[in-house]
Amino acid sequence: MTVYRWVEHTGEVELEIEADSERQVFVDAMAALRELLSDGDDGQADATGAQLVERTISLAAEDRPRLLAAWLGELAFLAETQGLVPEALSVLRLGEGVIDANVCARVADPPHLIKAVTYHRLAFEAHGERWRARAVLDV
């Protein structure tokens, strides 16, 4: 079972993820970003008929929290510069301090800007057999 949720934050947007595996944390982070980048008062979008493209992402970082920040930052970069909203993953390989992924994305015009992924309260930790992560996004 996986869960992500948005935590109340006066100024920005705080994302919390709890997942069965480290890999699933990254999958859920992408799903959360997809929701954030989608428009409409209900926060959802209809992808029917949208043009889909694939992008390869390879990132490295010194630890898991920074790798999560880099992952979210890369997806936000694709949204800002190419108007891409991530829809699915065809490949996701997670190694020691590295992530390689093929992201299937919808070509859209997301109106919501994610300026950056901050290091404030950034976390990625094991809790028993589950994993918990947190990131605050500047929006």
Binding site: D39, G83, P111, H112, Y119
Partner: protein, 476 residues
């Protein structure tokens, strides 16, 4: 409310340095009792105490009355570190480097604008790209991007996008010295270059206003604004370029904390001595992003003038005058007495008093103009800096109303379409690409700007010159 919070005077509260073992200076808050209650409801005060731990910080970590929870620094903070050993913190400037507001005064009254208001708001929305910002969709022919990074709006004078008068009436002349495009990453350029002249999203806007009342005739006379006059307030920043510069240097300084022997309660406060190679590289990149931000607002102002020309006429566009451009996210090297300080203003505005050589000659008798936007649909205020600000807040005042509700909570209370109808019913023409974004910026999500400005005035930091009421808004 923290037990050790002590009232110093009518509008100043303080947590002593002894409140926490890692604090180097007190944490000081400008607020009245009501605002303080709101401030104490989120993590603002804890974050302010974290700022008080920065190496080299002097006097106090100071919060303005619009303070709210942020990341690292709370939004609405001024913190000065003493050079050469004091630190510079990229997170203490924020991602939207040199975000600020610019006020333009049109040569007509709202009565003279009359029915053309709707058309003018429509043309402003057409002329100024908003939203996530995949570029302006129109090239700025012949503009040298490196020149923009080094010289800001001055680089646009020869392109008929800026005038000498615009540049003169901009904080720091629209240029921070020491900008080095070589310290700006390829990715930052890639994000920012196509966005020159775009508004962005979130709380950015271009607002059409009417001068509702003048409170200080001398100040208003010097600033060239009169009751009933139409003004345009532009709020935007350094777009993806600034966001990426901050991201790059937060990561770099976070990785180098051990090398500099710095321990912090929050990684987002990552920093380096301002005089170290890391610190100097950040300041050079930050200056480039700051110059880009001023140029960005300059291009937006140019596009406002194009809209004015189309709707009102060429002479009105030519005589649409820039009152001033002020900044609320930056770190500047400033001298106070014998000390040279790196003054971080994060959601806080410089407000130098009459007599300062840092402000345009035309305003030197009345003080630096400061613009405090309210929330959407509420008043904004024009202030003038006063001498007490130099003694009490490193020449700084607030930057806005300050959020008090999260975006999610705002969306739960009103939909974008409902809010749009309410604003239109109040006589405010609205253009926004996103209903969700509109709802997130609902007026009730912010503190009352009148109370925030009132605290600033009672503290003697600035005086109110005029109140501006919105009559149209183009939201990012």
């Amino acid at each position: 409310m923290p037990a050790q919070l002590t009232r110093i005077d009518e509008v100043v509260w303080e947590l002593p340095a002894a409140a926490r073992a890692d604090m180097r200076v007190p944490a000081r808050v400008f607020a009245d009792s009501e605002l303080l209650d709101a401030i104490a409801r989120d993590d603002s005060l804890e974050q302010l105490q974290n700022v008080a731990t920065l190496p080299g910080i002097v006097e106090a970590a100071i919060a303005m009355p619009d303070i709210h929870q942020g990341y690292g620094f709370p939004v609405g903070t001024v913190a000065a570190t003493a050079l050469p050993d004091g630190v510079v913190s990229p997170g203490g400037v924020g991602y939207d480097i040199n975000c600020g507001v610019r006020l333009l005064a049109l040569p007509l009254s709202s009565a003279e604008l009359g029915e053309r208001k709707q058309q003018l708001v429509h043309e402003l929305a057409r002329a100024i790209p908003a939203g996530i910002g995949r570029g302006a969709g129109r090239a700025l022919a012949g503009v040298d991007f490196d020149a923009v990074l080094v010289d800001g709006p001055r680089s646009l004078v020869g392109h008929e996008i800026a005038t000498e008068d615009d540049v003169e009436r901009t904080e720091s002349g629209g240029r921070l010295a020491g900008a080095d495009p070589g310290c700006v990453s390829k990715r930052a350029r890639e994000r920012g270059e196509p966005q020159l002249g775009t508004m962005g999203s979130g709380n950015h806007f271009v607002e059409l206003q009417r001068v509702e009342r003048v409170c200080d005739a001398d100040g208003a006379g010097a600033f060239g604004i009169a009751e009933g006059q139409v003004t345009v307030l532009i709020h935007s920043g350094s777009r993806g370029l600034g966001h990426q510069v901050c991201s790059d240097y937060v990561a770099m300084m976070d990785a180098a904390l051990g090398r500099h022997g710095i321990e912090l309660p929050d990684r987002q406060l990552s920093c380096a001595p301002a005089s170290s190679p890391d610190g100097r590289a950040y300041l050079a990149a930050m200056a480039a992003a700051a110059n880009f931000a001023w140029a960005n607002r300059q291009v937006i102002a140019h596009r406002v003038r194009l809209a004015v020309r189309k709707v009102i006429g060429a002479e009105a566009a030519r005589t649409t005058r820039q009152v001033y451009d002020v900044v609320h996210n930056v770190a500047k090297l400033e001298r106070y007495g014998r000390r040279e300080l790196c003054v971080h203003r994060k959601g806080a505005t410089r407000a130098f008093p009459a007599g300062s050589e840092e402000i345009p000659a035309a305003y030197r008798d009345v003080g630096q103009p400061v613009f405090i936007p309210g929330s959407m649909g509420t008043s904004s205020f024009v202030l003038a800096g006063r001498e007490a600000a130099m003694q009490r807040s490193f020449g700084t005042v607030c930057h806005g109303a300050g959020r008090c509700l999260s975006r999610t909570a705002a969306r739960k209370r009103v939909s974008g379409s409902e809010l749009r109808r309410e604003l239109e019913a109040a006589g405010i023409t609205v253009r926004s690409p996103s209903n969700r974004g509109l709802a997130e910026e609902a007026p009730f999500a912010y503190k009352a700007v009148e109370k925030v400005v009132g605290v600033v005035e009672r503290a003697g930091l600035a005086n109110v010159v005029a109140e501006l009421r919105p009559i149209g808004v183009v939201k990012g």
